[in-house]
């Protein structure tokens, strides 16, 4: 019983991170019909930004709560900035190109970010220790050990998911983003600044990566230059399982993927090395079964 709850908590944490990454994919796809594969490396960039912020905060002697706020803020801002730059400088000019070109372009942008971190970050080839800023320890509830940091991070992640969802569905800015997503040309004639809105949408999508990066660093206490790649693949899979362009689908997909991994580890410990393999096999099978995702975008073209 206690171990089941433990697995559940772990899966919830992973699912939150995957879901956050998947939301980014889904926002990019919804707004511009592109897959921005550099998303995972934007996450890494944000996490390393947070690490630098933590170093700076320690050097300046900030109290620990301020350091925490500072780290998360810098992570989010770093990813948002680089996401908006990629959108403005690389994605928008290519918006009429074939999808393969766009996919390859963003993959290469991701490679460039990854390589820059590896080559130019001090000692970038090796994993970096991420400072532990959250209260350590936890409490025991009928045999289940709850880590404080895990609970705080899951709550923060879910809160951020709701915040993004609120921005997109309830604010004027969100309305503009949805208008651009629906029909860029018409949105422009209604006086919406197309370029700016797209850049902001990409910044919001990339913020989710920054939050995910900060959560990852704070929870696992270690980050490395290549962690974004597998997170991008998982996040992309999650977004596709849920149905691209659907925020709730992305979250469902994220938790589903984490659930699959956890189930493999919990039920078939002998195969725990294969958890990603099995989860990806299920993803491919799900796509074969429901080609447009579980919660497909309404009105999607099927001929």
């Amino acid at each position: 019983m206690s171990s089941i709850a433990q697995y559940l908590l772990n899966g919830l944490m992973q699912g939150t991170i995957y879901g956050l990454v998947a939301i980014g994919f889904t926002i990019f796809f919804g707004v511009m019909n592109v897959i921005k594969f550099s998303h995972g490396d934007v996450l890494t960039f944000g996490a390393f930004g947070g690490l630098v912020a933590a170093w700076a905060a320690t050097a300046l002697g900030f109290p620990i709560w301020l350091e925490l706020v500072f780290v998360v803020l810098i992570s989010v801002m770093a990813s948002a900035a680089i996401g908006a730059i990629i959108a403005r400088g690389l994605v928008l000019p290519l918006k009429d190109a074939p999808p393969l070109n766009m996919l390859l372009m963003t993959m290469m942008v991701g490679t460039a970010i990854r390589e820059c971190i590896r080559l130019f970050f001090p000692n970038g080839t090796n994993p970096q220790r991420f400072p532990e800023l959250l209260p350590s320890g936890g409490f025991d509830l009928s045999g289940v050990y709850f880590r404080y940091d895990g609970l705080i991070l899951i709550a923060a992640g879910i809160a951020f998911i709701f915040a993004v969802q609120w921005i997109i569905n309830r604010t004027r800015l969100g309305l503009a983003i949805r208008a651009v997503a629906e029909d860029g040309e018409t949105a422009r004639t209604m006086g919406i600044n197309f370029t700016l809105t797209v850049a902001i949408a990409f910044a919001i999508g990339s913020m989710t990566a920054g939050v995910a990066g900060a959560l990852y660093g704070l929870y696992y206490s270690e980050i490395n230059y290549s962690m974004g790649l597998i997170l991008a693949i998982i996040g992309f899979s999650a977004a596709i399982i849920g149905g691209l362009g659907n925020i709730w689908g992305a979250i469902v997909g994220g938790y589903l993927f984490a659930g699959l991994q956890t189930a493999v580890v919990a039920l078939l410990p002998a195969l725990s090395d294969y958890k990603n393999v099995i989860a990806l096999i299920v993803v491919v099978a799900l796509i074969a079964w429901r080609p447009t995702g579980l919660l497909a975008e309404r009105g999607s073209e099927r001929v």
Binding site: N101, L104, M108, T111, D273, L280, V283, T292
Partner: protein, 386 residues
């Protein structure tokens, strides 16, 4: 008298000789020069010549020669290839590089059939290459099996494994299809890493090739000339490459190629005309994976060692990038792009550490300014033979 002023057959033949000589000469120069500064100057000169070649009409001439006198051009290429091997006969490294270039170029031909003709994304090229390699490693104990059969089996198994993906690839389109191949490539690598029977992350040893008592790991001796043992592999791989080049050309110039193009350009219109989209997509996908598998087996046997690290997602990405760099759908563009991508980082040591970064930046730049690739594919011209 410039080449452009020469009309007709003579001009075309001269053009194709010049292009072949340029390619062979650049390869020899880049492979033989060790001094980094001289090498840099040499690369700059080659780049300049390559820039001039289209201006003088040599490329156009060679292209027409290929269309009108295919056998003459093939003879010229064969002579160029043989002289290349002859010049580099005892240079192990150079011959290994040429073999590697030809292997990658063949795999990229497979991706050209898939992506360039049928419009199917394949982000798992390295996985199919690896399937062939691991097939060869698994069959190492079956010594009674001739190596030719082993190599062919590498292709067959890769093609068979690809059929697992056909259903999801056929049912989906665009990004969804891209994800299925991408997920397959990643899960394949993860499987190799985790599987103890396949050697895990340490990989496996593979025996070299022996065909009818011809041992590929001994130096090749022809008459009084002695070649490095890699020459064996270069000759074999060159022959396979030539075969697949002709195969691809046959596909492109036959009605199959036209159908594949039609499937890529407009699925709905094509199905209205009664073409079975699923059949032709499956054909292109399987054919491409077969090429990758065959070359994977040869690659494993040549390096005598394979490990999961050779078949990562990054390698698949490299393969797609080569195809795009060469110009999607252009067979010769693939060869030129492979030379650039494989050779330059290997030889120019100062960029070795930065090669992925540099490479990523070049592709980004290329996609911005010249999305059709270095040598863009041309529309077929079916002229009447006189």
């Amino acid at each position: 008298m410039t080449v452009t002023s020469m009309k007709g057959t003579a001009g075309q033949i001269v053009s194709s000789i010049l292009v072949t000589a340029l390619l062979v000469g650049s390869l020899v120069a880049v492979l033989e020069i060790e001094d980094q500064r001289a090498l840099g100057i040499c690369v700059a000169i080659i780049a300049g010549l390559s820039f001039l070649a289209p201006k003088l009409g040599i490329l156009r001439g060679a292209e027409q020669a290929g269309a009108h006198h295919p056998w003459a051009v093939r003879l010229i290429i064969l002579i160029g290839f043989c002289s290349l091997v002859l010049i580099l006969k005892d240079n192990n490294f150079a011959l290994l590089m040429i073999a590697t270039i030809l292997i990658y170029a063949t795999v990229c031909l497979g991706i050209t059939i898939q992506t360039g003709y049928a419009g199917l994304f394949n982000f798992a090229g390295a996985a199919f290459l690896g399937t062939g390699g691991y097939t060869a490693a698994m069959l190492a104990n079956a010594t009674w099996l001739p190596d030719i059969v082993t190599i062919l089996l590498g292709g067959v198994i890769a093609a068979a494994l690809g059929t697992v993906l056909i259903l999801p690839v056929l049912r989906t389109r665009g990004h969804y299809a891209a994800l299925t191949t991408l997920a397959f490539g990643v899960l394949f690598n993860g499987f190799l890493e985790a599987n103890e029977m396949l050697g895990g992350p340490q990989g496996l040893k593979v025996p070299g090739i022996q065909i009818f008592g011809w041992d590929f790991s001994n130096d090749l001796v022809i008459g009084s000339l002695s070649f490095s043992f890699y020459a064996n592999y270069v000759l074999l791989i060159g022959a396979i490459f030539a075969l697949f080049m002709i195969f691809t050309r046959f596909i492109e110039r036959s009605w199959i190629g036209i159908w594949l193009d039609a499937v890529r350009l407009d699925e709905i219109a094509v199905s209205v005309f009664g073409l079975r989209i699923s059949v032709w997509k499956s054909f292109a996908f399987t054919a491409g994976n077969f090429l990758a598998g065959v070359m994977g087996a040869v690659y494993a046997k040549m390096t005598e060692f394979i490990a999961p690290a050779n078949f990562t997602f990054g390698d698949s990405l490299l393969l797609v990038a080569i195809v795009l760099l060469g110009g999607i759908g252009n067979r010769w563009g693939v060869l030129v792009a492979t030379m650039i991508v494989i050779l330059l980082p290997e030889k120019l040591q100062f960029i070795q550490e930065y090669r992925l970064l540099l490479f990523a930046c070049i592709i980004i730049l290329l996609l911005m300014v010249r999305p059709a690739g270095l040598l863009a594919r041309r529309v077929r011209v079916f002229e009447e033979r006189h």
